[in-house]
Symmetry: none
Subunit: 523 residues, 2 copies
Amino acid sequence: MRKVDIYDSTLRDGAQAEGISFSVEDKLRITRALSDLGVRYIEAGNPASNPKDLDFFGRVRRGGKGGAVVVAFGSTRRKGATAAEDKNTAPLVKAGTDAVCIVGKCWDRQVSGILRASLEENIDMIEETVGYFASLGKEVIFDAEHFFDGCKSDTDYPMLCLRAACRAGAAVLSLCDTNGGCFPEEISGLTAKVIKNFDLPVAIHCHNDCGLAVANSIAAVAAGAAQVQGTLTGFGERCGNANLSTVIGNLELKKGISCLANGGIAGLTTACRLISEIANVNPNEREPYTGKSAFAHKGGMHVDGAFKYPGSFEHIDPELVGNRRKFIMSEVAGRSAVIAHIQKIDPSVLRDSPETERIIGKLKELEHFGYQFEAAESTFELVIRKQLGKYKPLFELVNLKIIAEQPYQEGQSASALIKIIVDGKTEITAAEGDGPVNAMDKALRKALCVFYPHLDTMHLTDYKVRVMDGNEATASKVRVLIESADGAESWTTVGVSADIIEASRLALADSIEYKLIKDGAYK
Amino acid sequence: MRKVDIYDSTLRDGAQAEGISFSVEDKLRITRALSDLGVRYIEAGNPASNPKDLDFFGRVRRGGKGGAVVVAFGSTRRKGATAAEDKNTAPLVKAGTDAVCIVGKCWDRQVSGILRASLEENIDMIEETVGYFASLGKEVIFDAEHFFDGCKSDTDYPMLCLRAACRAGAAVLSLCDTNGGCFPEEISGLTAKVIKNFDLPVAIHCHNDCGLAVANSIAAVAAGAAQVQGTLTGFGERCGNANLSTVIGNLELKKGISCLANGGIAGLTTACRLISEIANVNPNEREPYTGKSAFAHKGGMHVDGAFKYPGSFEHIDPELVGNRRKFIMSEVAGRSAVIAHIQKIDPSVLRDSPETERIIGKLKELEHFGYQFEAAESTFELVIRKQLGKYKPLFELVNLKIIAEQPYQEGQSASALIKIIVDGKTEITAAEGDGPVNAMDKALRKALCVFYPHLDTMHLTDYKVRVMDGNEATASKVRVLIESADGAESWTTVGVSADIIEASRLALADSIEYKLIKDGAYK
């Protein structure tokens, strides 16, 4: 079976993305996750441009690094310096990794226009820097910046750069489509040419500015590349790097090319979600293979087809990558989608039981009112419980009063006074907040924590408001979605009302009841 | 210059995406935006599966439809029915469009396993349904579902399906990679084969389950396809449809193939953001060509390179698609975009006037805070007026108190007490409403109408709330967009705050001031 090495640069190129910034602790966690997944190389930082990376490299060595090779990234020495005494190279030596990646310019007009060096000088800079690190016994990956753009402008010069790296003892030649402007046929032709002319493994490094980074990486592998560089979730400057989770899915499951050690592919979805979580960005739900929606079926025809025969509307079995099939609750979804949810709560209810009929009727009624359950399965679960007689309220709201004042003053523009009853006992309390919803949220939790102290392990992670049928303007119904998490799990609930306070209250109450039920309140 | 038709299915396939649901008003606005952009075909709904689509088709005809052809989508007749009297086909006739898209199954095992029809019956269903609509004088696009999967399982059967559609008078054959599991070389080979054997224009319809929908669409065009189907922002079931904005950028700017009427490509970024805004989803910042980060430079080396020579780290000039370069550390806003708005208010201000500098500074400050002016030009116009000294407030809000109570009682869950000053005269009044925002809206208008009676010609037509940075949960900043109209014109304003009442108040105040200024309050 053919094998291709995966080289992940989430911690270096990924960190160049707008809005992304990793702490040393974040980097250590991501390194572990990538290593567990079975990635071969982890490019973990540029110690010359980011001094705090040195701290990371020190700790990753002490902490062990699993099966993956940790790589430090840096540039060729500056013009006029020597490789051993340059501010670009010295921090890389300090990083103390077994492998380094050295980027060198290969596009003639960048050498003159940006480095302000002669073409010969640049060749010397490449050769001396690669040679220096090779002489220290390190595995040197030569990163040929703008290789493809350079070839389009002058085919010979980039090849001379590769030749210099080769002479100096590089272990891998990495061909970069730095601007992401190439098409698969260009990548394929030039990659094949390098493979034919050089006796070293070739890596491909693509960016997604034309939405072609995955296709380009696959084209290079078809032409013989031995290594694919990118980032597991596609993070990266501008439009991102080649999304390695998609590349891995395509190569392992469609092309029969092994990418990850130890059958790691079953952990692909978990690894992607973990990295998004550490980076504090919402995972792209539509991401091929690993996205939450990647195997979600909504249209009635599709849901029906996917039930009768999953291969109908799925290109792979989602479990192969650790993802799962999902039937979205919606007016276009039929009975098949609903029954799976019902049986989670009561396995004895069948497709044609009267309870199923009643629940579908309730679903339609609520959807007509403006509810949407596709992103709020926890509220749907509570609806099912109510219809099956498997629900009893865990608290009663007696009264809630909100007083808000404008002009706005931060942190105290609204206050809420709340009275609830739990098991016959009354609690009255109050809280201030940023706006009426926040004040209510705080007051309700404060009151409930008196009875359910472990509620403080739960927190809200997302809050969305959708105004429906906006032409009723400020009297329109609003739909509020609340996502909550408690470390072990995350769940989403929904509330609908013409009053945003009520819609938020309903979603919030469901979110809290779901938590209490899953923690055993009914047991 | 070679030309390829663009066929957008945001309103049909896009609406199948998890979390997306359009009102009739949303659909009309998206239709206008796509038509303005220069898209050739707009697939706008499936009237058989979604009865409220009929309302849309009725209104889109009355409202005129610009240059684009509006298409209604439906399936072949059911087994055993006649094409003229089938519940799949009748609603399509009612939709009254000049063009219809008829989907027919082309994968043998789907025909038997899901339709439970014989292969011959299915051929009849295709031929009769296409023939029926052709006989009504409609342009029929035949959508060959699972065409590529079908060919992989039995090359002949899908070709027989195309042949039947052809005989019956189809105008276009659309080849679908329904599960999104194909690679460019498969798409390319089979598309070329169909083009060789059939004398009809061929369309390509790809899904993104392997992250290859763009590459596959481009491969089909290279093989001779005359039409590309997809959705402008990539919305669609599972991993989405081919992202047409990326396809258009690649074909027009890299391959010299014209896609949009009237040089529409300069409006690409605006159209994508507008559609995301209407769908109430956050636009993907990394989207090729149109994403906010698509030309954002963060790495010091890249920023430097991009300054010295923009082509260094950009594959195209961002202005070609209406996007702009962004330096994340030292942001430089697109002056050209701003100057047009400034000159609307004061034609004497020039590109390099100090006023322009000041306005761009203010714009950046507000955007950093969370404002977005793409869909709220009226607020932006007020910002410009304030910076140019061409603004004086038309009322002063002294105080606003809101009292809300739960459990909710319709029409009276909140009351607002307001005090304003206009020209030294004070007005105090109060109103009740559905929730705090509605109560405030009513009270403010009631107070202002005392001084500006013609305000009653103005009404709010849309109200949208977007929660930003949702992981601050109920304390997150919200952006409120309000659309108003007075019969002659409609305009949109924006307000941002952590308090939804303040955000709404700001947008509402701008909306009223814009109306008063345009009616001559300053003259």
